[in-house]
Point group: C2
Chain length 330, copies 2
Amino acid sequence: MRKWFAASMPMLAALFLSVTATHADPLASWQDTAAKEAIVTFVERVTNEGSLDFVPPAERIATFDNDGTLWAEQPMYFQFMFALDRLKALAPQHPEWQTTEPFASLLKCNVKAALSGGEPAIAKIILATHTGMTTDEFDQVVLDRVTTAKHPMSGRLYTQMVYQPMLELLDYLRANGFKTFIASGGGIDFMRPWTEEVYGIPPEQVVGSSVKVSLEVRDGVPVLMRSPEINFIDDKEGKPVGIQQHIGRRPLAAFGNSDGDLAMLQWTKAGVGIRFALLVHHTDSEREWAYDRQSSIGHLDKALDEALANGWTIVDMKKDWKIIYPFEIN
Amino acid sequence: MRKWFAASMPMLAALFLSVTATHADPLASWQDTAAKEAIVTFVERVTNEGSLDFVPPAERIATFDNDGTLWAEQPMYFQFMFALDRLKALAPQHPEWQTTEPFASLLKCNVKAALSGGEPAIAKIILATHTGMTTDEFDQVVLDRVTTAKHPMSGRLYTQMVYQPMLELLDYLRANGFKTFIASGGGIDFMRPWTEEVYGIPPEQVVGSSVKVSLEVRDGVPVLMRSPEINFIDDKEGKPVGIQQHIGRRPLAAFGNSDGDLAMLQWTKAGVGIRFALLVHHTDSEREWAYDRQSSIGHLDKALDEALANGWTIVDMKKDWKIIYPFEIN
């Protein structure tokens, strides 16, 4: 199942070696600006056994949003593009979609009309394309797609459009005894098949939105079927709830990029002792995208105000990151 | 919060050293019988890189039921005894309980009458005693109780009534690259405050039944409130579902003791390649308790038939375990 990565492993290993040989700095893609300094200072304080802020390794929980924090999310969430692909692939088996919204508009490639139905329309699209199969089957569908689908603008695989500075940050935190988790509004089972290879985050450390699953027996064999019913939405006020249910500890550090992450950051900072909250601010219209308060995707408004008011760390992608994507490394 | 263990650490360390000095065998409390041999053979096969059955460490997921598998569960589930204690402590604030079932019977110490209401009565008792407070407050309530409450028959702390051979098995699996999880019908938040110290299983590796929690703001500070509403029952067919939602991988090995674990064991064994399923059979009326098909607690009937029919490993506690509890070690 994980074989598609095997071919690229020597290349990745060579890349890794060349990077580590060139830079002793574990955060080599970060400019030496305030954001980087804040990260390093925080990590040194909680890991220094002589420090009053010392935190035992078991309690060093770091939670990361995914869309817009670890990988890109424009011009629309990658999972939504996956859903559109699935919709087209499944359409022949669903003639009724030709005359039912939001499917009819989508099949005519009119995303805007399809989404005029708001969140209920999005839920219909996700449920129609993500359920009605076993968990094992869905894993395979995701993996097949993620290994081949190209981003419409960059022509890159979605998994290549991850942020190199954030990969370094994940490694840096783990090297300092942190356990890294994803806490995303995206589908938990859309992420799990590939997060281990791409981010070094195993499936059991992924928290996300989910559909209900139920145990059924097929030809005498138990299978878990994905039902067209929402189980949990891991977004906004749901993020602290999802973190509590999955992890059972409050994060020591949390990383996000939008108002969907605000509750997670507030919950993190409300913990006893030193805590770290960071927002990735999309400010780079040339190398990536620039958007915040006016954007429907990655909407960043209240959380930006809170971050500014409370002195949370804000990453200015344009100024704070030397490179954006791993493929920029020569 | 975890300080109560600190005092006993030197003693535990001394004990550990004396045990390891005496026995090089990591499963020293296991008799050299078929159960032990089955465990060791399985572990050697999946960890031997030259073996066709080799499984990479990341996929070595082991799930353990708790009640009756890792610790005792007689004469009633320890969590239920905790609930009864809580009920008595909270009764002064709930005069209505004096005239409402199942509370009225319980407050008269008539457990049998109280439980005549079956599962709905149990749910009422759990919800009344486990909710209406923040998650942090509940953690503290559990910890206060678990550090002081004595078992009515043994006079020991509940956390002393864990099975020494299973502690060794947890360590042995971890030493062989397994990640150990609890998958219990018990309350996830009743277990998490103490499983790390007692079993070496951190909160994020505990799967269990849960109530709904929601984010509220109290005096400007976000808190997670425990609501009197069931979120998930991690028992029977719910166990594979809970494992999927929390872990996202099928276990390589699963350990239980009752029909409540049957679906988990079947789900585990239905995976591709070699898998391990084990049942702890309570056969020792002298050192522990002897019960199976007729018992309402730890009811073991169908799962025993399946284990016998399919050659799963069955631990006969009386014959297979040299000692039951850690406090038996001199």
